[in-house]
Amino acid sequence: MNPYIAIGLLLLLSTGLALIIVLLGAVLGPNNPNERKLEPYESGMVPVGEAMQRLPIRFYLIATLFIVFDIEVIFLFPWALIFRKLGIFGLVEMAVFLLILLVGYIYIWQKGALEWD
């Protein structure tokens, strides 16, 4: 049997299944809309203000920087656990890694990314 037939079947089945589920819900489910139900979902809260509000770009910047440095620090823990096993090579590796991090840190500092205004 041509192996591509299996792939094709998989594609057909998965698409079909998804379609069926959506269609079944639409056809069988009761449909009683009211004002509350049609409101956008905001975790159960009553929506406040405009949806298309503009946020200061700095929030994104800070969030990104936080993720970058936070995640990268996580690498230090497993390294510390097997530090003896890795030996001097591991130390050098981690030093290189931190050096890169440091350069990045100096860079964003220098560029003023850490200042709020």
Binding site: P3, Y4, A6, I7, I100, V103, Y107
Partner: protein, 501 residues
């Protein structure tokens, strides 16, 4: 295969990569304390690190260095293929660097970051082409993609540049996700992410249970989405004309060469390495993709009026020709892969040469419209004649590098007795003659009322001469270039011998 070799020696073996990384950081730091954005120290340092890495690339050839072909922790393959791509991408980066120095003046303030990114993208291409493990492949692939997105969107005030970066990013994100899914299937099927180990599992007859074996094929299909995106194969090509058009032209130049090379290197390693047992299946799939790519790329190129878009579609079509070499590869002698490498090298000289001309013209006139090339032969004869030679090379007409590439690729195809593929390839290359010569027609047959001579900055002239010499020499005296390629997949075969089962 010396996996117990001293780590210092390993660092020596990946010296070019370390140097590039260091270079990227140093340039970044130096830039911070330079008041002048156009300070010559920046491109100077960048070039220095690249040249250093290029020289270091040849260190493994020195006997007595103790560097033997092998892998570093199974992650980074050190073999002829890696060395080839090191030299390949460093050469193209150096040429692109020369173009950048001319192009970047007055266009952006963030010059230091640009040079630093150029070093990093070079590093990422090398890492991608040397990656010997699915995880490493994915990391290098993403590293390459992220740096490319930033570089495409470099001209922050240019709407087209922004649009290009956004399109590139969206396409890239989706296709790499699909590719990752394929990789996860491979891992699930074989329990390993190492290319050689995956291959060993598939090659072992005991495990040739239909399901597992076919998972390899499914994985190949899914991963092709990612690879196809990187080298712009139809139907994953739609981003490339916009990205090519919107990106700063030196970036376009690099995009048309570097990521393509990386994509093909990964394809060579994954398809012929990990999925060697499924060769028949993926070759059938790739031959369909190759036909589609050549037909769509060439036919769409016919309608283009912008030089950069024309070159984008032309490079899509060229990827189709390169792919044919992989389709027709015979694992016994790897002739097809060698043809792919020769073609890539030919493409490097030819395409960078063409882009130099485009940049020079853009610098002088601010235009990339084909019609504006009217009467170029009178305004800058050398430049126009060089462009003709580059176009002939893309077309595969001797005595140019492109001819040698096409000759070998079609040689592989004929040897594999894929006559239909060969005829489609040949006929589409006749179609491509029409749009390549259309530019020649505009440059040579149509007069220019103004007749103002065009002047080219020195770095552009230099790159033009280098690429021109390369393009001609590769056909007239090809032996050194063919030697550079040597036995391309040494390592893949050697690894099979080294495995414990």
């Amino acid at each position: 295969m010396n996996t117990n070799v001293d780590w210092l020696q390993r660092s020596l073996a990946i010296g070019p990569e370390l140097l590039l990384m260091l270079g990227g950081l140093v340039v970044l730091l130096v830039d911070m304390w330079l008041a002048d954005d156009d300070h010559p120290l920046l491109p100077g340092l960048t070039g220095l690190f690249m040249v250093g890495a290029l020289i270091w690339s040849f260190v493994p050839f020195i006997p007595g260095m103790g560097i033997t072909p092998g892998t570093i922790y199974g992650m980074f393959a050190l073999d002829n293929l890696t060395i080839f791509f090191r030299v390949f991408v460093l050469t193209s980066s150096l040429l692109v660097l020369a173009l950048t120095t001319v192009y970047i003046k007055g266009r952006t303030e963030q010059t230091g970051e640009f040079y630093s990114l150029l070093l990093f993208i070079t590093l990422s291409v090398i890492l991608a082409s040397a990656a010997n493990n699915l995880i490493m492949i994915y990391l290098a692939f993403e590293f390459l993609s992220l740096t490319s997105y930033i570089m495409v969107g470099w001209l922050r005030d240019d709407v087209r540049s922004n649009e290009a970066a956004m399109k590139y990013l969206l396409y890239g994100a989706i296709s790499s996700a699909v590719m990752l899914y394929g990789m996860s299937l491979l891992y699930g099927a074989t329990g390993s992410t190492n290319i050689a180990e995956i291959a060993a599992v598939f090659a072992n007859p005991r495990t040739e249970i239909v399901g597992i074996f076919n998972l390899g094929i499914t994985a190949a299909v899914l991963m092709m989405v990612g690879f196809g995106f990187k080298v712009a194969l139809v139907p994953f090509h739609q981003w490339s004309p916009d990205a090519y058009e919107g990106a700063p032209t030196p970036v376009t130049t690099f995009l048309s060469v570097g990521p393509k090379a990386a994509g093909f290197a990964i394809m060579i390693r994954v398809l012929t390495g990990a999925l060697g047992a499924q060769t028949e299946s993926w070759q059938a799939m790739l031959s369909a993709v190759a036909i589609l790519t050549m037909v769509v790329g060439n036919l769409t190129a016919l309608a283009q009026t912008d030089m950069k878009r024309l070159l984008a579609y032309s490079s899509i079509a060229q990827a189709g020709y390169i792919l044919m070499g992989l389709v027709a590869n015979n694992p016994a002698d790897n002739f097809g892969i060698r043809a792919v490498l020769v073609y890539l090298l030919a493409y490097l000289f030819t395409n960078i040469g063409l882009f130099v001309s485009v940049i020079g013209f853009e610098q002088a006139t601010g235009s990339t419209t084909i019609d504006d090339y009217r009467g170029l032969i009178r305004r800058s004869p050398f430049h126009a004649m060089a462009m003709v030679i580059f176009f002939l090379s893309l077309l595969g007409i001797p005595p140019t590098a492109g001819f040698l590439g096409k000759f070998l690729v079609f040689g592989a195809v004929i040897n594999a007795e894929l006559y239909f593929l060969a005829v489609v390839g040949m006929l589409t290359s006749v179609i491509s003659a029409y749009y390549y010569l259309n530019v020649v027609r505009v440059m040579f047959f149509q007069g220019d009322e103004e007749d103002r001579p065009l002047r080219f900055a020195f770095p552009l002239q230099a790159v033009l001469v280098i690429t021109l010499v390369g393009t001609l020499l590769m056909n007239l005296y090809p032996t050194p270039f063919l030697n550079l390629i040597g036995e391309p997949t040494n390592l893949v075969t050697q690894l099979f011998g080294q495995l414990p089962f």
